[in-house]
Symmetry: C2
Subunit: 256 residues, 2 copies
């Protein structure tokens, strides 16, 4: 199978003109087939504020009422996604912006209300990657916005990390997929106060050890659990690295 | 060649939940390959107003400064386009929302400043319909937003009628294309005060006659000139009809 690099970038790097341009240059230089998954939370919060809509976050997740859904549809599906697509086209990359509704590639279900009502937030149920895989084989580069749909006419706000993981798993049927999560640090750190203490490789045994020792904690735990789940589902490798460095593979490589 | 129906709808019909739903039902029932081109001007004006941005129109065209470009990117490329895509998916139509930047399918050039500076408005220069045609052959239904790009990283606001005409001409290489323009009236009228006085068929000679007699005037003249240009470029027929009636072909059929 041919290699496919699926890169998830989020945070302010995609929302400031200069860092976005550098990121897209790095992304464009990644060899072979590739997919970009982006966030856009800061822009959504900014546009919502200008529209007089308050952004409510619980555990880092946006409570998505009807008006907020319109904002994220505009910002993720329109503003952020199409600006990335246009800039990649200028670099000779044949980009195609997609939400989960486009080509029906990612279906979700509105999250059931338990302790918290997240509103119009979708949990992924089904991924149809066939047409996307054919387009990738023709050198099209999908740019995935963090939106899915319920196949009943409703768009749903969906975490970009989840979109990346689910798309990677579905595309693993067609390609040797490397899933790259970009964030602020160079990788998973042994010492959170030392940005250079990157753990170069993690497997399940080492992960358990570091968790039990308290070295890996907080939001990194579910991120890594998702990484192992993706590996079990056929993804070749998961890399956690810094967003300004996506072509260098200097981060933490997660394997089984 | 197989038949393709390319339908352009604009105005408030796509921007009110009830009429949009009926329109999409009618569209979904059109047999064979199809493409939908939409506007979204009223929503753009409404969102711009909420953001404190004044909408300036000259000859029915929006003056698109930098902030306005962001609004139309959000509204046309995100809000309107993705809601249509999600609703069509619910009706079993495999819709794919596109701006001209996606798949680099429609390139334009920023309109030169003469008497009026329209700002970030694009005049179409090049259409690459190959991948779109392949997708259509696989029963994908493109939903085209009125945005193009200049291949230098900039999105440009482009009139939806123009998008429809240019896409129809490019797709005529692959399909027998019927281009349908939907608007408020049942067709081109002999008497503007009689909504039932639809001219059933128009050819160039009849068009010249009606223009010289003052029966066809105003904004309908460039619309029909574009229709004849599309026919000369290989489109099979152009139909002007009412938006709530798109499957009945009761409008004005324009032929050479």
């Amino acid at each position: 199978m041919e290699k496919l690099t699926l890169i998830k970038v989020g945070g302010k790097i995609v929302e400031e003109a200069e860092s976005l341009n550098q990121l897209l240059r790095d992304f464009a230089s990644v060899e072979g087939h590739k997919v970009l998954v982006h966030g856009g939370g800061r822009s959504a919060t900014a546009v919502a504020a200008k529209l007089g809509i308050e952004s409510k976050m619980v555990n880092g997740r946006r409570i998505t009422d009807e008006e907020t859904l319109k904002v994220v549809t505009m910002v993720y599906g329109g503003l952020v996604n199409k600006q990335i697509v246009a800039q990649l086209q200028a670099m000779g990359i044949n980009a195609l912006g997609l939400t989960g509704a486009d080509l029906n590639y990612m279906q979700s279900e509105k999250r059931p209300v338990k302790d918290i009502d997240y509103g119009f937030v979708g949990d992924v149920k089904k991924v149809n990657a066939g047409i996307m895989a054919d387009l990738i084989a023709r050198d099209v580069v999908p740019v995935l916005a963090p939106l899915t749909h319920d196949k009943n006419g409703h768009l749903l706000n969906t975490n970009a990390d989840t979109i990346a993981g689910e798309a990677a798993k579905a595309l693993a049927e067609f390609f040797d997929v490397s899933l790259v999560y970009c964030f602020e640090k160079k990788g998973v750190l042994l010492d959170e106060n030392d940005d250079e203490s990157v753990i170069s490789q993690l497997n399940p045994a080492l992960f358990e050890k570091y968790v039990s020792e308290g070295i890996i904690q907080g939001g990194m735990i579910p991120k890594l659990e998702n990484a192992f789940e993706a590996l079990h589902a056929g993804v070749k490798e998961v890399i956690i690295t810094k967003a300004d460095n996506i072509h260098l593979n200097e981060g933490t490589v997660i394997i089984l």
